[in-house]
Symmetry: C2
Subunit: 499 residues, 2 copies
């Protein structure tokens, strides 16, 4: 195969893979937002069929040769072509080990599990979801062993979401968080809680929808390129820089819930919207790792969205849309309320300080699922016990317990640690950004453009073009150090709670 | 090729074609409902790529042999297999004449044209849309000549939507309508118009949404299998019996507009929802022709939805949801108002009596586009002139003129006559149904189940399994006679307007 042939075939692959990824991505978003409940019966077939095709796109006799030809001519190809070949080679090597019938069957299980999880969560019926969870765990364990049987299954999965992550790197990371944050959490618990009652009045959903649009405008999200829908569990899907979707979930008596979902998903969306023109419609036009993706969502949600300057900017908007509910509320009161730290049940609504504990529980649960010998039927009891141990709260039902998150229903095991890593990355990015940009001046003016432009320049535009390591160093300006994160939380909550 | 091989390959084709049709259908619906405005930039690429693949699924060396092998063994295969082979053979013969690059380019144009039409309509800017319309006409004219160069292009297109239709059959059909209906329209114009002011008060959109759900419930549409969204131009898409979508458009000061859109699209949806289990996930699981499809939508919209018994059933629902607006309105007043006959500008909001005139104008326009020598730049003036001639109304702008309908932006030329044919078919189906079912007793009870069950039995369940001719005879019980339709309209409007 000549280099020209290899490049032509690589381009063909990018076109095809992008088209299938796009179609399947839209079907997924549609399935979770607009499609009728029973539509999963047909969607499963279609997704399984298209997955089979995408599998064959990657796993075929030519792929290895295409990639090798390009990588052997590193000096004659563009950076974009070289990186595409590098990533395709990795994908090929991973997927070629999974038999196609198992890969297709797994897609079908995933589609069904997603639909069943919705119903199971609504009915708080874990038994209904358990058989699917068991299958998803089995498949993932098997796939991990196909990829690399020399490593524990869970380490293979962790590495899949965050290059280089393993229990060997994460155990000490989480140990640091637990050691540094537990005293702060305990000290906060002794202090009087701030008022939050004004956020728990009745906020009509149709006005919350307008509030979401206003938040997206403050964040500088182009409505011509990003829309919002409603789902049980908020998520972001990006297909290219002209088509990104976020979702949220409205609770009439909790305006902060959707508000911070929108800002969180908005952070993911800005990453996808910021990918460069020359990588569109290729495998590079997306976030580099889950940890980097979460660094952006948690950055906007917490470092910006839960700052006092942002509260000053958003309060007048809230008072315009919800005049009666927000009457007499000051920016300081709002800032205190949205930073109320208290052990709680629901991860997505957890405060910034106790959030990492929710992640630790899921990390420990996943270790038990894959490296331990916990049975699927025992998981809810283990979950409830950990919530008692780590956070001191009693889980009243599985809906607010083990069924709360969508991740496992989608077969995403090993994803959760990315949230904690991302949170920590974000803090270091912020302190690096502050050297170049008047962050708080910009936030104070309600114009996040300079913030997003800086992140765009250091991170977003590259997509997957650079390795995660290089991107992290680019954005953080120094090696990763989890103590920056714990120092930030300690300082913020010591001031807030006058510890 | 053995028969077993042919059947296996036919099944493979059905699976693949269903999957691609499903994915592209969802992308289309999503693109028109939830996707951001600029998403068309990426959707065009994906749709073009997937269209190319579906083209190759049909147009390849084996297709003809698969079909012929099955059709040569008619006594050894099921009716479903034989009909699939018959339809695939037709599709193969049609498509094989279109070069693939033209087919793919056409898909891309269609996607772009749909997006541009939205903007052009909003801005009432025909010049913006004109270059796309010109290309769409050119492609369709060329495709028609590829299919059958011995016939005029427009006849080839008409036959594509309604088997057997041509200007030779439609000219006398429309002549009958014009001859019989014009005196009625003129007589009605001399009578005092009924009150409609109560339908033009302020009807908040979020309550109209609830009204749509109630209408869908009255029609017996399973919400687990059919959902509703909002688009500029209402439409229905069915993917299988578990996944059908309808859309509507809300106008705050015109509650009847969305109400009858929902009932109309509901009729389409019931057809798709009623297809039998044994044809799901095959090319047979959809309506047989556009005329048959429109017979169902117009049946529910007009014969049922604009009847006095239906007005009696729906009025209490309207009075519950819109108590202030509907205060003092009687069923007779509602019946008179929703049947107000008056020459008007917008087809989708036209009354039952003048509706056929809107169709005739489009039919004449299409004849000019394809068989005549009208230039694209001249079309708006021609449109406006015909509205003056046929309906006596002055078109104020292209938004309410030539840009009002989505069909041409989707390359659907020759579709419009199906609406008039469908309206006429429906009248004959109703009189056949009345022999078996107490239609008005059922409607009076607000339970359309017996009506839909009868149509399901005679028509819906078959999908495309039977030929259109057989289905028509099955449902109408006698040969087609347009005078039944004009007699029905004459009687209804003579009584309503005391002619």
């Amino acid at each position: 195969m000549t280099l020209e042939q290899a490049i032509a075939k690589l381009n063909e692959f990018q076109t095809a893979a992008t088209a299938y990824g796009h179609a399947m991505g839209v079907m997924y978003v549609d399935g979770d937002t607009a499609a009728p409940a029973l539509s999963y019966k047909g969607r499963g077939n279609t997704m399984a069929y298209l997955s089979g095709i995408t599998y064959k796109l990657v796993v075929n006799d030519e792929t290895a040769e295409i990639c090798q030809t390009i990588l052997d001519n590193r000096d004659k190809v563009t950076d974009v072509q070289a990186r595409q070949a590098e990533l395709l080679k990795e994908e090929y090597e991973d997927m070629t080990r999974i038999p196609m019938d198992e890969f297709v069957a797994y897609q079908q299980i995933q589609t069904e599990a997603a639909a069943i999880w919705h119903e199971a969560k609504e009915k708080s019926d874990y038994a209904m979801f358990a058989p699917y969870l068991e299958k998803l765990i089995d498949y993932n364990r098997r796939f991990a062993s196909y990829k690399d049987s020399s490593k524990p299954a869970y380490d293979v999965m962790l590495d899949g979401y965050e290059k280089g992550a393993s229990t060997a790197t994460l155990d000490p990371f989480f140990a640091t968080l637990r050691e540094k944050l537990t005293p702060v959490i305990l000290a906060v618990a002794d202090k009087p809680a701030p008022r939050t009652d004004f956020l728990e009045k009745s906020f009509p959903v149709h006005i919350q929808r307008e509030f979401s649009s206003r938040l997206m405008a403050i964040m500088g999200m182009d409505p011509q390129r990003c829309t919002i829908a409603e789902t049980e569990h908020p998520f972001t899907s990006g297909f290219n820089k002209w088509d990104v979707r976020i979702t949220t979930h409205y609770h009439e008596n909790n305006v902060a819930s959707s508000m911070y979902s929108v800002i969180h998903e908005g952070g993911h969306a800005l990453y996808e919207l910021g990918t460069a023109d020359d990588i569109q419609f290729t495998s590079l036009a997306t976030g580099a790792t889950m940890g980097l993706h979460e660094s952006q969502s948690r950055f906007y949600e917490n470092l910006i969205g839960r700052s006092l300057p942002f509260c000053r900017v958003v309060l007048p908007v809230m008072q315009e849309l919800f005049p009666r509910q927000m009457e007499g509320v000051t920016a300081e009161m709002l800032y205190a309320a949205v930073n109320k730290a208290q052990p709680s049940l629901i991860r997505t609504e957890a405060d910034e300080l106790t959030y990492a504990m929710h992640i630790m529980i899921r990390y420990e649960m996943e270790k038990l699922m894959f490296n331990g010998d916990a049975k699927v039927s025992e998981l809810p009891a283990l979950w409830n016990k950990m919530y008692k141990d780590y956070l001191g709260v009693t889980v009243p039902d599985d809906r607010r317990g083990i069924l709360q998150d969508t991740h496992w229903s989608g077969g995403m095991f090993g994803y959760f640690p990315s949230y904690a890593l991302g949170s920590a990355y974000g803090v270091q990015m912020l302190s690096n950004m502050e050297k170049d940009v008047d962050v708080w001046g910009a936030v104070g003016k309600g114009d996040l453009t300079p913030v997003t432009a800086w992140l765009g320049d250091k991170l977003h535009r590259y997509g997957k073009l650079l390795t995660p390591d290089k991107l992290l160093l680019n954005a953080m300006g120094e090696p990763f150090n989890p103590v920056c994160y714990t120092d930030y939380l300690t300082k913020k909550f010591s001031e807030l709670y006058k510890l």
